[in-house]
Amino acid sequence: MSNFPVVAATSPHLVAVPVSTGVATALVALLMLTHIQFAAFQQGGYIILAVTDFIGWKGKDARKDRFSKGLVTALGATFAFGSALAIFAVLILFLGLWSQFFVQLARIMFWPLVVEGVAFVGEIACLYTVYSQWDKLTRVRPLRVGLELLLFVNASIQMLAINVVAAYMLTPRPSNSLALNLLNPTLIPLEVHRFVGNIAFAGAIIALVGGIRILLAKSREGRAYGDWIGHYGLVYAIGFTIAQPLIGWEYAKEVQLHSYAAWYSMMLGGLSVAFLFQVFLLGAIFTVGIFYLWRRIKASGFRAPTLAVCTALSFASWLLIATPSSLAWSYEDVVAANANVPIWQGGLMIPWGEMIPFKLLALITFTGVAIVAVTVYLKHVSKGHLRWGDAGRGQAAALITVAVAVSLMMALMGYIREHSRAPFLVTDKVLINQQQNFNPPNAAGPAMNGPAGLGIIMPWDPHP
């Protein structure tokens, strides 16, 4: 029996989450879909900035220098707004409205989030230095280009860290080892997909600015500048989208192998209509982009019959790829007709997937045609055929269309990705429902507690 008064701990008063799951989900969607637009522009923009600054320096091109200055200003503004969004999202949205889920995630993904935070600080340091000292750094050009490259590496590390989190949520590996949870099956395809896609996205936004400038230009000089910006951005946009059909196929393959329900939902189930719209947008990007390349050369007075053929092929592939299943045959129809054997045995199957084969052929055609179109276009550029200022309203409209399609595609991909996991937040491990209110941790925590009771697994801990 003790003589000392026992101080009993009372449970703290926790504020109940003020919104329903539906509203909380909608808020996450809104914030995240906006955030990815900014983040993608940030990462892609840095490498475009570094490349343009370097080429402008070595080639003594004043137009590129003017563009670089404009781009770094834009990147500074988008970073300021985008990072405010991100901080708001983490603090208010995740910790406030999705506390159960976020605390669990932060305990599993502690180290990637640390890396993310450190890289964030690095980005601030480099970006504001480059932006505010732009003119002073012109005298030390190699340093400026080096800082821009560093920004790109930094942004890539940030993307890698968040991809670890995202890949874990889609295909978590059934293992208690920290290393295996960080390196899971969809990490590398997602990383490659986003790396390439971000550069294409930034190029598309630059093309958008170019297109708008062409339409709103009040002087010849302004029009010429907008023309050049639009062309420059579009080459990046189409060029880096060339790789996406292959990478996207590989990514979908990994999802199929490691999270079949999500794959089924995207390709054949509830999200397949959204995915159909997705490939419609992809076809738009390729076709309208190649159409721009063709018409832009024509606007400067040169003929490009190869590009006309490329546009036609791309348009045909666009029709093929965007065919809804009600108009085309489905896999069940193929089976019913006993045609589910390879093409060389008289059937309709190609070994790349038990899908409607002409959609995959359309993807292959897009890739091949775009490679040819970009190469031919660049040949005209290097011969000096393009007079800046010749672009007409049609070309400006094409640039804007491609940019809008890229932006929509990005948002739609986020929507499809997150919903394909439904009803899970982390596949097979954490449900969407009941993830909001924070519960004080109980003594027997999840297996991820790690030794020393810190709740964080250190990299050198033995595997439980």
Binding site: I188, P351, I371, L378, S382
Partner: protein, 406 residues
């Protein structure tokens, strides 16, 4: 206190060493009169090379040094290795466990191969970006591509020699690939294997290919590569031709007339026959070459000592759970094998696509005939090349993802 009549130091040394130095100098003079060494040395060392950007030009000589390293370490591996299916693994296992120095030599041979492939890739990228394949050096580029293919062949045939699990299954897969050649495939596979299945003749054939056939093709081609380089002189890169846009005809003519051997490189695009600023090969370029080569050899040595060359268990054709993993430089091809499955698609993935890539590589000097040297003035060449490199990197990453169960 030194006496004023004492001769200065060098004279003293000369007097003391005269009994040895005089005969040696005399012998050298006798040999030189008949062989012409000093003339040849002077010609080789005091050639004019471009001055700017010279550190990147040292990659070529680094490739040569590492090839020589491979030949030397290979010769000394021959002192123990036996190319027999029953003794190959045993002989290498002996090295790994009972002969530390030979193990380091073996490690240098392996890491030398890896570094050689990396350096040859960097050398290709450098010559590509600087436009060194343009007139009149197209033939040198083609010889270079052939050298690259030979080095790849040497790399993969060397991997088959230890006859451990990795080597055995690599050899199985590589010799089976040729089976997919239409009509002749089966016969070519039997010729390579010495029969329909892997056996002792397979090992001896690949041993002969690795130590004799491919080196016998490689060495003369290296010689041709160097002869062509000397014939036309080093091209350098665009930094060596700044100002040719603004020079007058008279200035250009004067520059061409005053060119030092081996310039002017003819026939050449106007202005590009002679670099703006030159330097002596010895000691400037040789200095940079020496530093870079030394750094690479140090890396090879350190990797050989710290990591060494792995030796898996002896080959077991009845294995059930072994996962054959290709060498890193063959990962993109391995991924193509996954991406082009079944029947006629396999030859497309294995022969047609790499064939198109190699053909384009050989034809680069004919696809890009513009006189521009700066990479940003040749986007129609740079951008597809960038995509080709990125494609190889993507394929390798995807293969890593698949093979290491990520």
């Amino acid at each position: 206190m030194s006496s004023p009549s004492q001769p200065p130091r060098s004279e003293l040394v000369a007097k003391l060493t005269r009994p040895v130095a005089r005969p040696l100098a005399g012998t050298y003079r006798w040999v030189d009169e008949r062989l012409g060494i000093s003339d040849l040395t002077h010609q080789l060392l005091y050639e004019a090379v471009p001055r700017r950007g010279a550190w990147t030009y040292s990659l070529g000589s680094a490739t040569l040094i590492i090839i020589v390293l491979q030949i030397v370490t290979g010769i000394f591996l021959l002192w123990t290795y036996v190319p027999s299916t029953t003794e190959a693994w045993e002989s290498l296992n002996f090295i790994e466990h009972h002969d530390e120095f030979a193990a380091i030599v073996r490690g240098m041979h392996l890491w030398g191969a890896y570094v050689l492939l990396l350096v040859i890739g960097l050398h290709m990228i450098r010559t590509f970006v600087s436009g060194s394949y343009k007139k009149p050096r197209e033939l040198n580029w083609i010889v270079g591509v052939l050298l690259f293919l030979l080095v790849l062949g040497l790399g993969i045939t060397g991997a088959m020699l230890p006859w451990d699990q990795a080597a055995y299954w690599t050899a199985t897969v590589v010799t089976h690939v040729v089976d997919y050649i239409p009509f002749l495939g089966n016969w070519i596979q039997e010729i390579l294997r010495g029969g329909p299945q892997m056996g002792p003749e397979t090992l001896t054939r690949f041993f002969a290919i690795h130590i004799w056939l491919l080196p016998a093709l490689l060495v003369p081609l290296v010689g041709l590569h160097l002869i062509l380089l000397r014939r036309h002189g080093e091209h350098g890169s665009w930094v060596n031709y700044e100002g040719i846009d603004t020079e007058t005809e008279a200035e250009r003519a004067a520059r061409m007339a005053a060119a030092e051997y081996p310039y002017p490189a003819v026939p050449s695009d106007p202005g590009y026959a002679v670099p703006m600023d030159i330097d002596d090969f010895f000691p400037s370029q040789v200095f940079k070459d020496a530093i870079v080569s030394f750094a690479l050899v140090v890396i090879i040595f350190v990797m050989a000592v710290v990591v060494g060359a792995p030796l898996e268990r002896a080959a077991n054709p009845a294995a059930l759970n072994y996962v054959p993993t290709p060498e890193w430089f063959f990962l993109p091809l391995d991924q193509l094998l996954v991406q082009f499955p079944q029947a006629w698609m396999i030859p497309v993935g294995v022969f047609v696509l790499p064939g198109i890539g190699t053909t384009l590589l050989v034809l680069v000097p004919f696809l890009d005939r513009s006189p521009e040297r700066e990479p940003w003035r040749r986007p129609e060449v740079m951008v597809p090349a960038l995509f080709a490199v990125l494609f190889l990197v993507f394929e390798a990453l995807l293969a890593v993802n698949r093979l290491f169960n990520l």
